[in-house]
Amino acid sequence: MSTDVTAAPKARGEAPRRESVAAWLRRPRAPLSPPRWLAITSVVVGAAALVAVPLVNPSYINLTVTLVMIWTIVGLGLNLLVGFGGQVSLGHSAFFAIGAYAVAVGGEAGWGQGLSLLAAAVVPFVVGYVVGLPALRLHGLQLGLVTLALAMATPAAIRALEPLTHGSRGISIDGDPPSWMPLAHDQWVYYLALALAAVAYVITRRLAKGRLGRSFVAVRDAELVAETLGVNVWQTKTRLFATSAAYAGVAGGLYAMLLEFVGPENFNLALSISFVTLIVVGGLASVPGAVLGALFVQYVPTLTSDISAAATGATYGVVLILFAFFLPYGLVGLVRGSLGRLVARIPGRRT
């Protein structure tokens, strides 16, 4: 039998080409293509598990999972703008804040939760559109700086708008479910966040592929070419910016309902940095990447803050550098690389 073993490499012909680990990590890869039965099973099992989570867990677990879904919504929108559209924004904490305050102010005005959450989408969309009109004439670094200024000005702007926001005192919010619903507060916000995250995920997937998705990528990779294909580049960028602002706003609204309090300190620059870290770690221009990135920004800083309270900033910094160098396609790239062949071998009809 030993002869078989030694003969095997010769029989296969050429020796396998060695690829360095760094090159393997940096290689672009096609999305996983599971057979239809596996895709459907995963979605059904995943959905059932997510629905079951708040029924069997203590409220602090529900709280962190709800936060993951909130970050996922931000990440989905920001990835449309940055990953697919190629327009940098460091300012999405501002739209997150606007959404949160829309819910807070709406609650004070007695609008009800549904209308308040709608306002948390519409107001950031409009503000994003108006900010985007001039800002998106800028490119790269300059756009980054303008949006950075937006994030830095947010806490001060909240304090300055005292009559509306009550300044540093903040606003308390009633995030309880309607009285006829047999759910605790944490369960109610969990299910709201789950439903909205699911809707956001599906819509993002539709926008990111197909005719519009191709136009986003064309705007990102070759603006002039996009224009000669008939894409109105400026309009596309502005709509992407406003849409991603609406995602951040909805997430901010859910965040306000979850914490039942908003104050200016919740919306500092570090929040924007964590949003950018989220999409880079998850995987730029990948829809499922937003989920992986959201898990990262929710759980990893908690782990490192056990070491030191200042470790969060350092973690983000180190992680951003490492991903830029070694994992340009983020965790999604890693998953595709490690599971791609295995999934491709599973039998079944593929779509």
Binding site: P28, A30, I203, R206, L207, G210, R211, L212, R214, S215, V217, A218, D221, A222, L224, V225, E227, T228, L229, G230, V231, N232, V233, R239, T243
Partner: protein, 255 residues
């Protein structure tokens, strides 16, 4: 009745350098016109004026009777002007199929709301686009690379992919910049035949910039010769090739 494309005394200069010195040119529906001339004669500059990338200082350009100087570039595309680029304008990170399908942008349907709602007409339009793109890739012998990432393919193949993308937009006027670049002789002849056939099937007019005279004479109904931004000759390809002014422009003038 205005012709499909009418270029009238277009002048374009960059600082003190004159790129186009008032050439006039017309292309009728379904006509295949070659645009030739030595390097730096202004051929690509004229292309860029027609697709709106450059804005000439004076002169007019009309497509189907509509003046396009100063019109936003995406509007020019929706008037039915498609083009390819001398140095390839493909999306390097995308697959061949995705690149070709991008060519159908202005001709296909699906706004933001309809796409988010997965409206039936959006799905139908997407299916039609995919089927048309695959058929076109088949015709251009590119079916085997449909799923490959563009950045990994050779130059001659990229030229054909770009051509497929431009054709998928069902242009009335197709501007093709040096399609034979990077091809060997046999492929050039084949490309010429394919070009003529595809244009005839779709009723598209072609304005073709090309250095390969064999391709120009076999494909074009008519050629126009530019030199230093001026039109120095126009007419039947074979006659133009014998024109002393054209020979002088290519070989240099006697002192």
């Amino acid at each position: 009745m205005a012709k499909l494309l009418e270029v009238h005394e277009v002048r374009l200069s960059f600082g003190g350098l004159t790129a186009l010195d008032g050439p006039s040119l017309a292309v009728g529906d379904g006509e295949v016109v070659g645009l030739i001339g030595p390097n730096g004669a202004g051929k690509t500059s004229l292309f860029n004026c027609i697709s709106g990338l450059y804005r000439p200082q004076s002169g007019t350009i009309t497509v189907a009777g509509e003046r396009i100087v100063g019109l936003p570039r995406h509007r020019i595309a929706s008037l039915g002007v498609g083009r390819t680029f001398q140095n390839i304008g493909l999306l390097q990170s995308q697959t061949v199929l995705a690149n070709v399908m991008a060519g159908a942008y202005h001709a296909s349907r699906g706004g933001w709301w309809a796409t988010a709602a997965a409206a039936p007409h959006v799905r139908r339009s997407e299916d039609e686009t995919r089927a048309a793109a695959l058929a076109l890739l088949e015709e251009l012998d590119l079916a085997s690379v449909a799923g490959r990432i563009v950045g990994t393919l050779p130059f001659g193949t990229l030229k054909r992919i770009e051509l497929a993308r431009a054709l998928l937009g069902s242009p009335r006027l197709l501007l093709i910049d040096e399609p034979a670049n990077g091809l060997v002789h046999g492929e050039v002849i084949e490309l010429g035949e394919t070009l003529r056939r595809l244009a005839a099937e779709r009723g598209a007019a072609i304005l073709l910039v090309e250095h390969h005279m064999g391709l120009v004479t076999s494909v074009c109904d008519r050629v126009a010769v530019l030199d230093f931004g001026r039109l120095i000759a126009e007419g039947d390809p074979r006659e133009v090739a014998q024109d002393p002014a054209v020979i002088a422009a290519y070989l240099g003038r006697a002192a």
